[in-house]
């Protein structure tokens, strides 16, 4: 096992469905907000004010505390020109930095390739979940997707425990022999061996970890706990990816959105406490993003797809505060007459994380040069 690596680590949390940024960081003193939002609106007195104009959603107490400790950067008005309203296409653009063509290479997959060019560690990039998000997917770059740490790998569901070692041995032989027997078999063989390598590395994770932090019982808390368990096992992972779904609130937003924000901010705060307890907070930064913001006006029950979302950058080494500008709420400034207009390109935020945090050249990954922010302490 390597000594406690101080390589910088990035944890990306994807809010799937298009988070309503305006009800997350609320312009609680703006008449335009209350004009536009009739039903899907948070009363000013319930919000958690940050300054004279902006406030956290009332369900984000733990994030507010982190912000007050100077550990949360709020990136306002993220987007790109001609923002797309299709979930799939928008997420695709956010994953590949290719708004004009259908890209196939994920930005984090490319970053992983830079950080581990000889594919020495199959755990350099880890997705918590099943399947592989396009952000992590680049042909030939091994990234490990972990649905369940304790059952990760193959042959683990073998109901006869006494056969497991022998079964893994045969599996290993079969997959090793495939290497050198034609390009496709070789590729499948290598992928199978990568799974075993990952499973070997992860085998001790469950026993090694102890913590006084008690995470809540919800999907994002479980995912971040898994990130902590793996990170604290020093397996050399540089990029973690976790998904938090359910943000597509066309209807009943006032019922569902608060619960998601409660889970999210609680999980992030617990995760930060956990890292702190293990003296591992210095090397970790979290970035929370979503594929788009939502419409200025609500539809009576929820909000439809819009633009101008927001992101959060969180960590002990983050210089807390606001970055970029809150999109103008003046109706005359609304994009397409109904959306928040973005004030910073998402590719500039990615470039910030790549160059200032992970130390990877951003230009070939985000396909261009975009204005960066300076969210890290010097």
């Amino acid at each position: 096992m390597v000594s406690k690596g101080k390589d910088k680590v990035l944890v990306v949390i994807q809010l799937t469905g298009g988070n309503d940024f305006m009800n997350t960081i609320i312009p609680y003193t703006s008449e335009h907000y209350f004009d536009a939002r009739k039903k899907v609106v948070i009363n000013a007195e319930e919000t958690l004010p940050i300054n004279d104009t902006l406030a956290f959603n009332p369900n984000m107490g733990p994030m507010k505390s982190l912000f007050d400790d100077g550990r949360v950067g709020i990136v306002q008005g993220i987007g790109y020109p001609n923002s797309v309203r299709s979930h799939f296409r928008a997420m695709d653009i956010m994953h590949t930095c290719e708004p004009d063509i259908v890209g196939t290479e994920g930005w984090l997959g490319l970053a992983i390739r830079e950080m581990d060019p000889n594919q020495e560690n199959v755990l350099t990039g880890i997705n918590i979940g099943r399947g592989l998000p396009r952000a992590l997917s680049v042909s030939g770059v091994p990234v490990t997707s972990i649905g369940d740490i304790d059952g990760y790998g193959v042959m683990n569901d073998q109901d006869k425990a006494h056969l497991r070692d022998r079964a893994v041995q045969s599996f290993k032989n079969i997959y090793s022999q495939a290497i050198g027997s034609g390009p496709v078999s070789e590729y499948i063989g290598k992928t199978g061996i990568d799974i075993l390598k990952g499973a070997d590395l992860l085998a001790d994770v469950s026993s090694a970890y102890t913590s006084s932090v008690e995470y809540a019982d919800n999907p994002i808390a479980k995912s971040l706990k898994d990130v902590a368990r793996i990170h604290l096992s020093d397996l050399g992972t540089r990029v973690f990816y976790a998904n938090h779904g359910g943000y597509d609130h066309h209807a009943n937003e006032m019922v569902a959105h608060p619960g998601l924000l409660t889970d999210l901010s609680g999980a992030i705060a617990d995760f930060m406490d956990d890292l702190e307890e293990h003296d591992a907070a210095d090397e970790v930064a979290v970035m929370v993003f979503t594929e788009f913001g939502r419409r200025m006006r609500d539809n009576g029950s929820g909000t439809d797809h819009g633009s101008g979302g927001g992101a959060f950058i969180i960590g002990k080494n983050v210089q807390g505060g606001f970055y970029s500008e809150y999109p103008s709420l003046e109706p005359a400034d609304w994009e397409l007459g109904e959306d928040l207009k973005h004030t910073i390109d998402f590719r500039g935020v990615y470039a910030t994380m790549l160059e200032q945090w992970l130390g990877v050249e951003a230009k070939p990954i985000v396909k261009g040069t975009f204005e960066q922010i300076s969210p890290f302490r010097k």
Binding site: F88, R130, L132, M155, S170, Y187, I188, G192, I195
Partner: protein, 457 residues
Amino acid sequence: MKSDRAEVAHLFRRAGFGATAKELDLLTETMRYEDIVDRLVDVDESPDIDQAYLDRYYAGEGFQIYVATWIYRMLNSNRPLQEKMALFLHHIFPVAWSKGQHAYTLFSEIDTFRKIAVTDFRNILLELSRDPAMLYWLDNNENHKGEINENYGRELLELFSMGVGNYTEDDIKNASRAFTGWTFSQPIPVYPQGHFHSKFEFHPEDHDNDQKVFLGYKGDFNGEDIIDIIVKQDATARFVTRHLCNFFVEDEPQVPAWNIEKPRDPELVDQLSKIFLETEGDMKSVLRALFNSDGFKKSIDRPKVKSPTELVMGVLRQVGSFTDIKPGLEGYYGTVAVMGQELLNPPTVEGWHTGHEWIDSGTLSERINFASQEFQDTDKPGVQDILQRAGSLDDDPDKLVDQCLDILGGVQVSSDTHSELTEYALSLKKQNGKEGGSADISDLIQMIVSTVDYQYA
């Protein structure tokens, strides 16, 4: 034996979703290979599944419910090639829920695909061009006289029929003009009466009647005329038959490389293209020739990675848990999705990238763990049948492995894998005498379905 067991098994893995040992017994004892091909291709001569019967059990408008009925058909249809061809059309004409988000229209599209898949290519393109899901997906409802939207016209030529390099930008514009006025009736809102089909509509007042020039032909073409011209093109014959080869014979490179790289089996594409042109795109003739060709028979040991749908359906047919309607089938929508193929929601207008691109560490572990778990439950009727046929761990391990591979639908493995499986069978036999736990043939089966070779169709 009237036909070769390995050949028939191969045919059913490719033209259907695999055959069980029992099915192979019957087929090889009673029918010649060519007759089996005829029965597959002449889909109308086998009885169809009663859709009303399915609808009684799988009612509702959810995605998973619809896909459950589709899976039921893939597992149990007497017309396996028809279901396979519906999936083929979903691969090459990939309309996704992500844009229209109107699920019912997508369900109707797959039903249409099933009806048209084994007809002729003119009919296929015509129905495709009139399909509401497709019209919306590629914006043909925004394609107006004097204000053309080229999206459908372009993809019709580039992705659905001819492939890049065989037409000009002007051809795209003229084809698009010919499809002006081809639109659909707005589906009325679901409440309170429930869903109504969205239907194709032709709006003559929005159709451009002026002269067009398309691939050298001149006339006041409508969309149908454009399709007539497309179907006669050598490029179309080559493009479509190459797609069929990619789907049934051997993995080709991804479509954008086709105008640069030669087909894997150029002779087979030549042979099938000729038939395509002679028969004006009659799919039965082309498919019959394909499955009877030497190229197809030889492809038994060439790499063709199973799509997630093929893998899951193949396993479910073997374990026999859904030979009649019962709850639980809807969950397999998600099983296929986590392996990288979300049915009714392909990633782009290009469809899924196939071949080895189905495989990464996430999807491979899903494939292996799914397959081995399905065979773990020895109560399933198919697994019981397999165990009865397989013999005993005390048999000669080498023969036992052969026997198991055959029972699983004629699985082909490399000689290295065969030796390793034999070693494993031997170790299971030894384990059986020991204290602390037994072993049985289902353990060997689980290893077989976890191999590299099992990933191939």
